[in-house]
């Protein structure tokens, strides 16, 4: 087991990719704090699933967009699980729409959670990591942070911010023994992207992906496990796409 004795905090761990990550880390031996904002029932389910499989987990409330909450969830993790080695900044929201139709506040709300959350939790955790000279941060970004998609401008900007921040964090924290990387998933059907696939079952999107298939939560979770473990000890400041080739593609290549 690659993460025996390690302790992780997964923000937004009550469902979707966050849930998959929490369970995958636990399967490798990590004790996991499952953060939720409002889905307590979901978080409790994840904790139950982990503990019934023989692992250790606790549910930890807090809104990553509020710095005080970020501090309290880090503190609660350290108090209840005995420490912290791995921070997975996964919590994220979307408010899709054409820029023309958006409320002026729509970009800020998405930015506050998607980037603000990463900033807040990172800042709240690094004092501990730097003191111990040991820590790993994995930011769950998105391939949208690197490429455009109609209707995703605010989400895309927030993930671009996460990607830039990942690089700077990596630079500042390397000498303190802390590695910081990001995973950039492509299309993985979860609640967050329900709206994108409901119109036509996703056919419109699949046509535009080299692999012509959606990703699975496990595809992302396994990369997070790799980045959290010492297998990736020489990686920091990396942005790892897990997107079925989406970012590599300029167009479908027709006509040829």
């Amino acid at each position: 087991m690659k993460l025996e004795g390690r302790i992780a905090l997964v923000t937004g761990g009550s469902r979707g990719i966050g849930r998959g990550i929490a369970e995958a880390l636990a399967a490798e031996g990590a004790a996991v704090a499952v953060n939720y904002r409002s889905s307590k029932a979901g978080a409790d389910e994840v904790v139950a699933a982990i503990t019934s499989a023989g692992g250790t987990a606790v549910a930890v409330p807090g809104d990553v967009a509020e710095y005080a909450d970020a501090e309290s969830m880090v503190k609660q993790t350290i108090d209840e699980l005995g420490g912290l080695h791995i921070l997975v900044n996964n919590a994220g929201i979307a408010k899709d729409g054409l820029i023309f139709n958006m409320d002026p506040g729509d970009w800020l709300e998405v930015m506050r959670t998607n980037f603000g959350g990463v900033f807040n939790c990172t800042k709240a955790a690094i004092g501990h990591f730097m003191g111990e000279r040991d820590g790993v941060i994995v930011n769950i970004s998105s391939v949208m942070g690197e490429r455009g998609w109609i209707g995703e401008s605010n989400y895309s900007a927030s993930k671009g911010a996460v990607n830039a921040f990942t690089r700077c964090c990596a630079m500042e924290l390397a000498r303190f023994g802390v590695r910081v990387n990001a995973v950039l998933p492509g299309f993985v059907p979860t609640e967050l992207v329900e709206g994108l696939v409901e119109k036509d079952g996703g056919k419109g999107i699949l046509r535009q992906l080299p692999m012509k298939s959606f990703g699975e939560v496990a595809d992302v979770a396994q990369i997070v496990v790799f980045l959290a473990a010492s297998d990736s000890k020489y990686m920091t400041g990396s942005l790892v796409t897990v997107d079925g080739g989406a970012a590599a593609m300029l167009g479908t290549g027709a006509p040829l």
């Binding site: 730097m130 003191g131 000279r133 500042e172 000498r175 303190f176």
Partner: protein, 133 residues
């Protein structure tokens, strides 16, 4: 004054954080000018000191230690030159600064650049004693 243990811990922290040789990190070497320490280096040094001695110092504490609780207005005059009162305090925490020699000449902003490895060791020693007492 700092114990030999603390002096060693501070020197090791400086050497480890800055990647300088032991022969460079002498007690009289100034952290910023001689050894080229920047703010991130200072953070690294202070974390290492905390880890090895248990004494926790924040970067902001350095300014407070140097100024010794003297208000900005009393520490420096309108031109930013350290006052006699300020110099008298500095002689205590940074003894290498001769109050007579620097009278009317020392810019308050530049004081931190004179901070030496020994000054830091003394500060850690003082904090350690205060925590123990």
């Amino acid at each position: 004054m700092a114990s030999a243990e603390i002096e060693t811990a501070v020197q090791e922290a400086v050497v480890g954080a800055l990647g300088v040789g032991e022969d460079e990190a002498t007690p009289d070497a100034t952290l910023m000018d001689d050894l080229g320490a920047e703010s991130i280096d200072l953070l690294d040094i202070l974390f290492r000191i905390e880890r090895s001695t248990g004494v926790k110092i924040q970067a902001s504490d350095l300014g407070d230690y140097i100024q010794g609780g003297i208000s900005d207005e009393e520490f420096g005059d309108a031109d930013g030159i350290v006052s006699r009162k300020g110099l008298e305090h500095l002689q205590k925490v940074m003894p290498q600064i001769d109050a007579d020699e620097y009278e009317g000449k020392l810019e308050a902003e530049k004081v931190i650049s004179y901070f030496t490895v020994q000054n830091l060791a003394d500060m850690v020693g003082e904090r350690a004693a205060a925590a123990a007492g």
